[in-house]
Symmetry: C2
Subunit: 356 residues, 2 copies
DNA sequence: ACACAGTGCTCACACGTGTCACTGACACGT
DNA sequence: ACGTGTCAGTGACACGTGTGAGCACTGTGT
């Protein structure tokens, strides 16, 4: 156990990190000149020989400007804060996330992931504000209140963008209408003549913000179908929607499939292609024929779903492009007064294959 | 088109972001006192009434300290830089990445994703060094040279950690031994009596750093098998390994399956469970029976692979835990002189199911 | 000889913090 | 009255950078 004084970190490689002052000394000019040369400031003229000397000195010392000092002086940063949640999210989201980062980087922003779980809205907003980001893109796992948005804006954020279910005033709210997914899936099933429809609700924690709206969308579809059907005066049997809790493992699926007959369902919207594949397999193993006895619909339009027999019907989701969102961020940052409007995104449509 | 002067950003909400000086003014104390109170500095005693006044003033103004200024003064940050690549990486990696971020956040680090593609090693290192991160965790998509590592360390990075194939001096190299995956898979196939073995090599750009070592591992397994077999003197027929380029779509898979018979293969290691599922389906559709005519092995041990018939054999990968890595980062940051050792991670073992 | 403009560069301040050294004020013991 | 000690707090500097104002010098036109 070393009894190190622990006060000064003491880089063992005695050489400290060089600053622009060091460059200036070596080049025999003032620090201001160094700054002008290295930033190619056009307003000030520096002779070509001097420029060369400065550049060579910087090169020799391995000078690297200090981003924090720079943005402190400038009064603003180019940091986009991306609060990241602890949710086991599918490939569609992963892809979107990745694209978004990529495109922001291309626009010369620095993306900062900031895990903030178990924080209250105002605590989270405070923590974010410390970083003085120029924009915040939240996925709604932390519910922003109006005042935390104001705090963020006061601390320099020129754009606050929320993707989620609810919309917060003062932000660009992009409504990822999860309900619509459940709705179109269920409407499709009803249209195909199904009447008792199960809706898988994953038990995994953190998925509630997706699964709950989808369930509600399914129920909505059931209600509207009942209404129009009554108007048509035809066979006005009601449509029933039954929530089905399910964990993402074979045991849970087998258990559910085991008591399928007593549930008396003739269709299921399985939240997801992954859950759908899991459940469909379990149903088949339990002797339930798909789609004859029970129709199955997933969501996300994964390639793998096409490989099963029967091919999995699914809901294709037109996810907002990472690129598009990155451009929105950029526009909002540059023109402060882009009106914070709400847009509804996430259009979705059923892709019928063989399982329904 | 507005002829805005564009010089000062001019927050429309005239109120600027409050600093500790504002708090001091409002509380009627000096700025130093504010700093002492808000940081709970124990070395200096401040009376309880004053503490309250300061806290209330800070509360009222909605004061939030400026992280950049703070770490500028402190001389170091708690920022961990995570260069993110443009690679379409599977669920295993996504999970790992997510965990890592999570755990680092728990240890009070700030994770900064920094996309750096198409940059040369020294350019990338320079860009990273500007942020003065306290640690860098690279996944090897940018090949760090020894001198870029030195640059990073000189600019304050107390730990540079690379996960990848090669190991760079001066860093904690965690060797994700991709080759081993191909090796165990192929060894398993040989042991099961297969002799002409295909190895899928994804055509997706950016996957080369994974696929190439796996292919080489397969070839290595073939050579050692040939050697020991020759020693045993038994049927010393050589083992052949054939690379199979494949895109992740049905068309490409069908095309490959179409000319399967002329390839004359009796087994295939498909890089991945996802590619394996894709290819297996295509083979079955082309009338090739699995595993009788051709054995198929994937990798990653995805749940979905268990749902196919026949169940997909796979290579289970003991991925390094995000938590474990986060703790390594923390240790390396706190004790500067943790020797930069190389560890070999990523142990892998075959899980035989039905497709081989 | 003087004004004036242009060139090439430097001085000094500001950004928002943390912290070391120091100062008044007061109490206590002699 | 004087030294000593504690308490509560302040003044001032440093961190590394960008930039407006200004300065010395040189040519050029009157």
């Amino acid at each position: 156990m070393s009894h190190s004084t622990e006060q000064t970190p003491e880089r063992p490689t005695g050489q400290a990190v060089p600053t622009s002052a060091d460059v200036a000394r070596l080049a025999g000019v003032s620090r201001a000149t160094v700054s002008y040369v290295l930033n190619n400031t056009s307003a000030v003229r520096i002779s070509e020989p001097t420029r060369r000397r400065v550049r060579e000195a910087a090169e020799e010392l391995g000078y690297v400007p200090h981003a924090a000092a720079r943005s402190l002086r400038a009064g603003h940063s180019r940091m986009v804060l991306l609060p990241s949640a602890h949710i086991p999210v599918g490939p569609l989201y992963s892809q979107f996330f990745h694209d978004l980062q990529w495109e922001l980087r291309r626009l010369d922003y620095t993306v900062v992931q900031y895990g903030s779980v178990g924080l209250k809205p105002d605590e989270a907003a405070r923590a974010w504000a410390e970083l003085r980001p120029v924009a915040v893109v939240s996925l709604g796992e932390v519910e922003l209140t109006e005042q935390s948005v104001e705090l963020l804006k006061r601390s320099g954020a020129r754009a606050v963008i929320t993707l989620g279910t609810q919309q917060v005033p003062g932000t660009h709210s992009l409504a990822l209408d999860q309900g619509r997914i459940g709705e179109v899936a269920t409407a499709h099933l009803i249209e195909s003549g199904r009447r008792r429809i199960g809706v898988v609700v994953p038990e995994e924690p953190g998925l509630g913000m997706f699964s709950q709206p989808r369930l509600e969308g399914a129920q909505r579809a059931a209600r509207t179908a009942a209404a129009t059907e009554a108007g048509a005066g035809a066979d006005a049997v009601g449509v029933t929607v039954v929530p089905l809790p399910l964990r993402y493992d074979e045991e849970s699926a087998d258990e559910l499939a085991g008591r399928w007959r007593e549930l008396g369902l003739d269709a299921v919207f399985a939240y997801n292609d992954e859950y759908a594949m899991l459940l469909m397999r379990a149903l088949q193993d339990a002797g339930i024929s798909v789609p004859e006895e029970t129709a199955v619909v997933g969501a996300d339009d994964l390639l793998l779903g096409r490989l099963l027999r029967p091919r999995l019907s699914t809901v294709h989701i037109d996810m907002v492009l990472g690129r598009e969102l990155a451009e929105l961020v950029d526009r909002a940052v540059r023109d402060t007064d882009v009106p914070p409007r709400s847009r509804r995104l996430l259009d979705s449509r059923v892709v019928r294959r063989e399982s329904s």
